[in-house]
Amino acid sequence: MTKIVDTAADAVANISDGSTVLMGGFGDAGQPMELIEALLESGAKDLTVVNNNAGQADAGLALLIKERRVNKIICSFPRQSDSWHFDEAYRAGEIELELVPQGNLAERLRAAGAGIGAFFTPTGYGTRLAEGKEVREINGRNYVLEYPIHGDVALIKAFQADEKGNLVYRKTARNFGPVMATAAKQTIVQVEEILPTGSLDPENIVTPSIYTDVMVPIETQSTELAARERAQGAK
């Protein structure tokens, strides 16, 4: 059953030290910035974080890394022009990095949610990211065996929810949200707007309510952008 809370602080209150935290977002799109900031405030430490990147500039995940609250990060693209906090922690040997090709990252999360024990993927075969991993030729193609990534908690950003916890996303901000929601014991969602149950078309639900544990309504730029789009469509 989905719990609706008033503040991001309430939403992340029970994330304990040592948790594996899945964080949605690709760059800024779909990044649950307010939840991550609340996690920073909460003081939770010794975290393992799963995100596509390793933090940008001086906000959100970057600050968690700066404050050495993240012991390990599992991501596909840590190095960016503004990933200075990660870069520094990494060079100081103060953060462990598991580098995963983006598609394997998504599929490993999906596998966790779908109860798959492991899967053979062609991505990464013959590269140094597959070193030490089990490989197998199947029907003339070479594959690497990859395992699921389970989270204790997922922090994601959705666009609209109903009170029951069904979720829809907005444009490319959807990215990792739906798979992470399935892969964590507890899924915490910041959402622009919570509508009465029955407001969302059952055909269009992207994340069914079974995956949503905690929701907090937080308006961000996405709400304005959607309003702008509706206004343009109405012209």
């Binding site: 760059g27 596909s76 840590p78 190095r79 990095l97 999360l109 590269t127 140094r128 798979v179 996405s222």
Partner: protein
């Protein structure tokens, strides 16, 4: 095709665009491959995929159109075209890994004669690694095209018998478009030279121990 001068990036992008069949679904990698989109006309009717979760990606957004929720894999704000579709990361990479894209165009540090691709890591051991979707893109289309300069600044040829840089994918590249020529690769390692620009076949063969076949007059 033979030209006496090497070609610039835009001309090369035009060549790549010309080789993409009408109605294709295409992913253009970050950097030089992005130029190809400038030469895809309406007649091409190409649908662009961006691995962060969209088919039917449009041109880059103008300032008034910028939407932080609508970006491409390079995190650049883009637009959507009629008939676009959004999906999540697992579905997006299933499109690639499942071999559903017709063409993927990538940059490269090195490509081997048998199609091994090196484009994610220079091999410098102190570099902070980052791979993103590179390895998925490498194996993620029916045909993988590479666009690159044929030579490094030091004059070393980047189409090699065996890659010395860390690999992105094994035997995955179909065709290589360079400022000095266009090359069709095969599993056997024999490379068909489809075009040469400002380079003779003899000059080419003198710079490499790859077995080239001259098909420039085809």
């Amino acid at each position: 095709m033979l030209r006496s001068e090497k070609v610039d990036r835009n001309t090369l992008a035009q060549f790549v665009a010309d080789d993409i069949e009408a109605g294709s679904f295409v992913n253009l990698g970050i950097g030089q491959p992005t130029l190809v989109s400038n030469y895809l006309t309406e007649e091409h009717d190409v649908t662009l995929h961006t691995e962060n979760g969209m088919l039917g990606m449009g041109r880059a957004a103008e300032e008034a159109e910028v939407d932080v929720d609508l970006i491409n894999a390079g995190k650049v704000p883009v637009t959507e075209t009629p008939g676009a579709a959004f999906f999540h990361q697992a579905d997006s990479f299933a499109i690639m890994r499942g071999g559903h894209l017709d063409v993927c165009v990538l940059g490269a540090f090195q490509v081997s004669a048998t199609g091994d691709l090196a484009n994610w890591h220079t091999g410098a051991e102190d570099a902070i690694p980052a791979v993103g979707g590179a390895m998925d893109l490498a194996i993620g289309a029916k045909r993988v095209f590479v666009m690159m300069n044929l030579f490094t600044r030091d004059g070393d040829i980047k189409l090699v018998s065996e890659a010395t840089y860390p690999l992105t994918g094994v035997g995955c590249v179909s065709r290589v478009y360079t400022d000095h020529g266009i090359f069709e690769l095969s599993d056997s390692g024999t490379v068909e030279v489809l075009a040469l620009f400002g380079l003779s076949f003899e000059e080419l063969t003198s710079k490499s121990d790859i077995e080239f076949v001259d098909a420039t007059s085809k």
